[in-house]
Symmetry: C2
Subunit: 532 residues, 2 copies
């Protein structure tokens, strides 16, 4: 290993780590072979320097004109699109995700589109929710935190949730907060390339150069100390529940908002009428969703509730055939394979039986067979914790229920999830069942879905990629969708009796930009009356 260790993006420039505690390389998931350059584990000096540099520019960034932020976000988006060939090649090599359909066709445009939506939210001031009470002399809006935001990216979206390019990054920057990005170590070269593009766009924007920094990896003790640093304004985390909860505890102890996306099994209820109407199609739809991206989705349909009936049995049989017929799928890492294997074993130990798969794949690289398990509703209700643990792979558990009452009881046994789905018959014959089950499920999920698999997550103002604990750390916020996702990285600021000229631009009497503002209880784009 004589190869040079790659630099990190620290304090406004690419420079060697100030003191590594180790180094690592990516692996080709299809072969298990190490690929690409050598990246550093950052030690305490890197972390300290990053927080210091970000803190030093936080006020300047908070005071930056909206147009400068928006122009940066747009320029970065353009640079990502222009670099698609390189980015897709890097990400495909590091993740084994499908290059044409997933990476180029879907995830990269989603990522650049998300940055452009953030730019639009910045220009429109839509995320600031300006609120004016003329009688009381009070004006309020959402504003920058004035402190750095630390972002942890996950393994499963090398672009759209990358700490240096994804929703948390776009949201934190849109709110004019410096970002310290902690890339996921399973796709370091992809992250490096994106950070290079971000850095170039930043230098051209006139924003402070230390507004965006990138670290590749650090050990747990460093991470916990960083999460507990009082100089941080907020933390965005997407990843495993165990790691996330440890970091959350460190952040909680110093009062730092910690926005986590931790785990979710995304229950799907197959109502009887839907199964009678289109059972075979639903079996195909479910299999496709569960195995998309080798099942490595936060919104993977991990638990499916199926009636014990002729149609339910047929659905299970058809689904089992799909899962059995499929070859083992490539996962991101050996750790991922081990985690899935342990998860399947735990489900079996809790009473589930394997209908298909259930084994590590043969051959090179990191592979696991698409796996279908089944358990009775009574068992699920008796051991809800063990039977709703996320496996994070092409794995799903069927829960067989006798009747509608049992469906309601199963719904009530779920803890917080990102999504919940009910498949209904198109003729309305399932609507009574919907009325019984949906309210119970509704309280436990962030997004309630009608007759569609949960894996698609549109970037929309009406999206909620969030949900009650433990799917996330706060039920009131979404991680996806502008401008809502920006609200996580904002502070509420009220101005009391402040003269017009000393107010932020979107709170002044004159509203030349036509910002939508709530004035004395009504949303309007008008100026405040002439008597000011």
């Amino acid at each position: 290993m004589n190869e040079a260790i790659q630099p990190i993006l620290l304090a406004g420039q690419w420079q060697p780590s100030l003191g590594t505690t180790g180094h690592f390389r990516a692996a080709d998931p299809t072969t298990g072979e190490a690929i690409g350059p050598v990246f550093p584990f950052s030690g305490a000096a890197d972390v300290e320097a990053a927080v210091t540099a970000a803190s030093a520019v936080a006020a300047e960034l908070a005071a930056a004109p909206a147009e400068r932020i928006a122009a940066f976000l747009d320029a970065y988006a353009d640079a990502l699109d222009a670099d698609a060939d390189t980015l897709v090649a890097l990400a495909a090599a590091e993740t084994a995700l499908a290059a044409p359909t997933r990476l180029r066709g879907n995830e990269l445009p989603r990522t650049s589109g998300q940055l452009r939506q953030a730019a639009q939210a910045v220009r429109s001031y839509g995320w600031t929710q300006p609120t004016i009470d003329t009688a009381a002399g009070l004006r309020a809006h959402l504003a920058p935190l004035g402190k750095p935001v630390l972002v942890f990216g996950p393994n499963n979206f090398p672009f759209a949730f990358n700490a240096i390019a994804g929703s948390d990054f776009a949201s934190a920057m849109a709110a004019r907060n410096p970002v310290i990005a902690k890339a996921h170590p399973l796709h370091p070269a992809t992250s490096q390339r994106m950070a290079q593009l971000a850095h170039t766009a930043l230098l051209a924007s006139g924003l402070p150069a230390a507004a965006v920094q990138l670290l590749y990896q650090f050990d747990n003790a460093i991470g916990l100390r960083l999460a507990g640093d009082r100089r941080l304004g907020a933390i965005g985390f997407t990843g495993s529940r165990a790691g996330g909860l440890a970091l959350k505890a460190a952040a909680d102890a110093v009062g730092t908002p910690f926005y986590a996306e931790l785990s979710s099994v995304n229950p799907v209820f197959m109502l009887p009428g839907a199964l009678a109407e289109r059972g075979p199609a639903l079996a195909q739809e479910f299999f496709a969703s569960c195995t998309l991206g080798s099942g490595q989705f936060c919104t993977n349909p991990g638990v499916v509730i199926v009636p014990r009936s002729v149609e339910g049995d047929a659905f299970v049989a058809a689904t089992t055939t799909h899962f059995t017929s499929a070859a083992p799928m490539v996962l991101f890492s050996q750790g991922g394979v081990d985690h899935v294997a342990a998860g399947v074993a735990a489900l079996q130990a809790a009473g589930a039986s394997v209908l298909a798969g259930g084994a590590v794949g043969q051959g090179a690289g990191f592979r696991y067979a698409p796996t279908l398990l089944q358990v009775d509703a009574m068992d699920f209700i008796a051991r809800p914790q063990a039977l709703q643990a996320e496996a994070f792979g092409p794995v799903s558990l069927l829960v067989r229920v006798e009747d509608q009452e049992a469906m309601v009881a199963v719904a009530a046994a779920f803890e917080g999830n990102l999504t919940g789905t009910l498949y209904r018959a198109t003729d309305g014959s399932d609507d009574a069942a919907w009325q019984a089950i949906a309210p119970v499920l509704r309280a436990r999920v962030g997004r309630l879905i009608n007759s569609k698999m949960p894996t698609g997550v549109a970037v929309s103002a009406a999206q909620n990629h969030g949900g009650p604990f433990p799917s996330t750390g706060h039920p009131g916020f979404t991680a996806v969708g502008m401008p809502g996702s920006i609200h996580r990285f904002a502070a509420l600021h009220s101005y009391d009796g402040i003269p017009d000229a000393l107010l932020p631009v979107e709170l002044r009497d004159a509203n030349p930009g036509g910002v939508q503002r709530s004035v004395d209880g009504t949303w309007t784009t008008a100026d405040i009356g002439g008597a000011a």
Copy 2:
């Protein structure tokens, strides 16, 4: 003590505690004598029964029509106003707050007005922020948590922040969550009377009887266990930092949002021009604000920054005279007196010198002298933690600064506060100083105030009674002001592809109530287009 122990409001009815761990009475703060009936310390059985009963009605309450909630809030407000004579007499006896000016003239109308503003937010659906993306088929709003909200009331507002009547109560009920109210033990008879009125209004409303419950007191271990109960949806806490942080840790561990209002010294900067223009008036204004309600305000001006100049010296001299001339003031409790005395001693130990007061008051009851201290800016910057500890009484610390640069340095030494104030000259001569200091202060406070003392807190949509940690637990939310304060007790719910008839009423195509909704990026009261 043969007197009967008062019942608690548990599971829909007034009933004896299921097992007390002790009992207590209120005291007349002017004499120290015990007054009023005997109230129970609730044990584990009461707490368990309260959570169970609230959880059992959470779904019914979440599904209740908006009008029913609004009618309850209005009826309760009317009942409070109609009962003013009794409520004011009870609160005056238990708190020694001024009956005509404070309790009857200000706090009770504010409390009933706040409930009516909550009712208005419920009827208008303004708090739900309906957001519709017609192209994506997604519709989102803020919705009930589907779980009980636990509210801890403080000692200092027997009406407006009472756990059974104040902003947290009104907000949690407006969001259709059951409330478990933990009254403050220094005004139990006031809380009991309010709870009786709430219960009567609730029974008349058709809402579930267990939607509102009242416990008077429990010991710390019970409180910590309750705060860590996974069945709770959120917690609202107003009180001391030490108690609040302990409860917050318990809530954090199970992912329950904890909205705390913990402590604040509310820095006030006296800019040179303002002092030159109207120094004596400012001295009077400051003294009046610092001693209002015996200084027992979250927004008490606890630290005032004053230039070392002829005008600054004159301001200090005038202020010292005001403080010296005033008689010792009645505090709520002996514990309060002890806390203030300890706080003053701690400030002295950290280098502050006493200019006026600094002693426990002679005579009966709980009294402390209005107290003014002074410290140099260099000392403040050297020991910022010790010198910005909240005393919670008629106590303020003057920080003497050489120049504008020192003012900026002092501003930068503050941790999170509810408010920050700059007094400016009316001729604009302080505006350069404002531009230097305000951005630094802005990032550290929830409400930035121009030339006005912080003690007045209007109930307004543009209010922020909140601020960065440790003044509160989250910088994005306000505890006062409708509809913002309701957002704390809400979950974000997205609906994906749900047929119109199965949507919540404010998300349907037709909008007969004229709800303000964000539709495809624009706020409007219109229906969704005819093609639905």
